[in-house]
């Protein structure tokens, strides 16, 4: 039965091949189902125009199901030729299991800095297995009309930030901040990881945490939780049951003034909102402090080691590594900032604002992604629940930090000394 089916497929491929003169179709696995149109209308036509004979199909799955679905497909041998890579361990484990091919020698890899590649390398940096595509930057997007109406200016320090929120709350015509805790990851990603780098000093704190020189119960890691604990009253009524799409809609409908954001929201918000938007970086704790932003290496693309079309797939990846792709991608998807060393001209003002912070602030990536989420309990997932609990007041900042540290110390050797 299986043989018959395969035979039939083979025969039909052969026939099609004979008719279409060796046309190869590449399938891309991705979690970015929001980008389907952009791939179909801009990126794929640009590639196909310069590479006759190779067809590309973009086949995304829902973000929350992507990792599970991809792992199952790879194990079953039914995955696409090109795999969109999550950063760090999810992709590293795919590489170690032999599902992703080594791309260290791919022409064009030299266009990326070591930091850009770090999310898709083995721990010792000897092999790179995905071509970096883009990073996302955290910050706050605000409704310019609302700010003008209330005579507000974007805050630079945390004190100013709360002053702005209090002012909006007092006025009452807008919900100060659109964020919910129902999906939990919003609280961690747009909350903790957004404002956190200013407290743990970006890379410095992140590396100290990985090395075990700092623990999650140390002040730099508890302080962001203390800030989150103050957020509850600024979120809308019933924020406990507010989901991520609810938050997006509240903001784009003009009912909320500030949206704790990731830059990936830009293209969606541009299409939905009919007011002018601005953005400000996470406010610093005190005036004059150096600023740090989460400039998170988020997305890359690799080659399925079992792909029968490896040759064509490598040509696609070479193209992804070129400045041409960077230009198309960064402008088609404002908010996904190219990791290519070649400078890219951005046309979207909001995206320009976000990317301008790279110049004045220090970049770092999300603290939980490298190495620290390798064990059970999973630090990233635990941070989601902890952040949501702290905002709701179910857990105090100190309790949440202690729980996270004990979870991490239970399996991560450099943190064994924090065990209780």
């Amino acid at each position: 039965m299986k043989l018959g089916l395969t035979g039939g497929l083979l025969a039909s491929t052969l026939l099609a091949g004979a008719a279409g003169a060796q046309e190869v179709t590449l399938t891309i696995e991705s979690w970015r189902n929001d980008d389907l149109q952009l791939w179909q209308e801009k990126i794929i036509p640009a590639f196909e125009a310069s590479h006759p004979g190779i067809k590309v199909v973009f086949a995304p799955t829902a973000p929350t199901e992507y990792n599970a679905a991809l792992n199952s497909k790879l194990d079953a041998g039914s995955a696409g030729d090109l795999i969109t890579c999550r950063p760090f361990d999810a992709s590293l484990s795919l590489y170690e299991a032999g599902h992703l091919a080594d791309l260290s020698d791919l022409p064009g890899m030299e266009n990326f800095s070591d930091v850009a590649k770090s999310a898709w390398q083995t721990d010792d940096g000897s092999a790179t297995f995905c071509v970096p595509m883009a990073s996302v930057i955290h910050g706050f997007i605000y409704n310019k009309d609302a700010f003008e109406e209330l005579g507000l200016t974007p805050p630079a320090t945390m004190d100013e930030f709360y002053a702005v929120l209090d002012r909006i709350l007092e006025d009452g015509s807008y919900i100060p901040m659109a964020m919910g805790t129902a999906d939990q990851w919003e609280a961690a990603t747009m909350g903790y990881q957004n404002i956190g780098p200013n407290y743990w000093k970006g890379e410095e704190g992140r590396r100290a945490l990985i090395a075990g020189d700092q623990g999650l119960t140390d002040e730099p890691w508890v302080a962001p939780f203390r800030e989150l604990a103050k957020w509850g009253k600024y979120l809308g009524d019933g924020y406990e049951a507010q989901t991520y799409p609810d938050s997006q809609n509240l903001f784009t409908l003009g009912r909320a003034a500030i949206y704790p954001a990731g830059s990936w929201e830009i293209s969606g918000f541009n299409a939905q909102a009919d007011f002018e938007m601005g953005a400000f970086p996470p406010p610093v704790p005190a005036a004059g402090d150096e600023c740090y932003i989460s400039d998170h290496t988020d997305i890359a693309i690799g080659l399925n080691a079992a792909s029968p079309n490896a040759e064509a797939a490598r040509r696609f990846l070479e193209w992804v590594a070129t400045p041409e792709f960077a230009q198309i991608y960064a402008n088609a998807l404002p908010g996904f900032f190219s990791l290519n060393s070649a400078p890219v001209e951005l046309s979207d003002p909001l995206a320009q604002e976000f990317v301008s912070w790279r110049e004045k602030c220090h970049s770092t990536i999300r603290s939980t992604y490298q190495i620290l989420s390798r064990g059970t309990p999973n630090l990233e997932t635990e941070t989601w629940t902890a952040s949501a609990n702290v905002i709701k007041g179910v857990e105090t900042p100190e309790e949440a930090a202690e729980r996270l540290e004990q979870g991490l110390a239970s399996w991560y050797p450099p943190h064994f000394k924090y065990r209780k």
């Binding site: 929350t64 990792n67 999810a90 299991a97 990233e380 997932t381």
Partner: protein
């Protein structure tokens, strides 16, 4: 002449073969393979035999045990709500529908049964919208009757979320006990009820003294169906709250716990061996429950022949 050998009745084998083959390939083999998978673990991409280590971790290692007992406790509560709310309401509806004075019986019957045929995804999404603090009609409806103070973002509160979802599930499935009981009530011969009437048993006392004892076997079947269904439940929680079964794991039941463990979640990679251990534990729990019913309850139920 009469020493004929007992013939092998080949036709029995032939007729049974397709069902046995399909059942073995798709049910028996995967089941035992899952049980086997639970005895292994993976170290550095190599599968190793680990004996009962996975179960020791699941039941006694606080990292796993806390999540497991939390999921089991939630699951028990989910089942209790169904037994206390869904089944009595189902019986009540059936009793009302079988009353001869009620008109438009088939209309009501269909209305109550329709949610059962809806997809979990639709039910989960629709209720999430109804109860939403932002777009939902629940706050507005309560406001209209002056009870706005009763409203809370139920799905987002740890103390209410599981009960809310259990009640949504009850809303969806109340049609099934109703139909089964209704069918059982229809089989009760009128002569028995008339004989009771002559003895002065009418109305509600006829229900309690005559009908209820006669439908007890049907209630038993419904209980066991509810039990198996609830302990295998997953879809509604997943559709409404996602695989993380928020807030703070308060709606986490065995099915969602299994899903997260087996397939992985966000940065957490899937662990098929621990997943299989959880699946085995679920299988054991259901097996024990069904056995208690079969040997402890069903054998004692009295059946009546008319």
């Amino acid at each position: 002449m009469s020493d004929r050998k007992p013939r092998i009745r080949w036709h029995i084998v032939v007729f049974l073969a397709p069902a046995v083959a399909v059942y073995s390939a798709f049910m028996v083999f995967p089941l035992f393979n899952t049980l086997r998978l639970a005895l292994y673990t993976e170290v550095d991409n190599v599968r190793q035999f680990a004996g009962l280590e996975n179960f020791r971790r699941l039941f006694f290692d606080p990292l796993w045990a806390d999540a497991f007992w939390n999921a089991l406790g939630n699951n028990v509560w989910f089942f209790v709500i169904h037994m206390l709310v869904q089944n009595p309401i189902g019986i009540l509806l059936a009793a009302i529908l079988s009353h001869p004075a009620i008109r438009f019986v088939s209309f009501y019957r269909s209305v109550f049964f329709i949610p059962t045929i809806l997809s979990f995804v639709i039910v989960g999404f629709a209720w999430k919208l109804i109860l939403s603090p932002i777009w939902g009609i629940a706050p507005a409806l309560l406001d209209a009757v002056g009870l706005k103070s009763l409203y809370a973002p139920w799905l987002g509160k740890e103390e209410y979320a599981l009960t809310t979802l259990a009640l949504v599930s009850v809303w969806q499935f109340v049609g099934i006990p109703m139909m089964l009981i209704y069918a059982a009530l229809l089989t009760i011969p009128d002569e028995i009820l008339e004989a009771g009437e002559i003895d002065g048993i009418t109305g509600w006392s006829a229900f309690w003294k005559i009908k209820l004892p006669l439908i007890l076997p049907a209630i038993g079947i419904i209980s066991i169906l509810t039990f198996v269904g609830n302990f295998n439940a997953f879809d509604l929680i997943y559709a409404a709250q996602g695989a993380l079964a928020g807030p703070n794991f308060s709606t986490d039941i065995l099915g969602t716990f299994l899903y997260r463990t087996f397939f992985g979640f966000q940065l957490q990679l899937g662990d098929p061996h621990m997943g299989a251990a959880i699946a085995t534990a679920m299988f054991g729990i259901i097996l024990v429950g069904v056995c208690i019913y079969l040997f402890g309850i069903q054998t004692r139920l009295r059946r009546y022949q008319f």
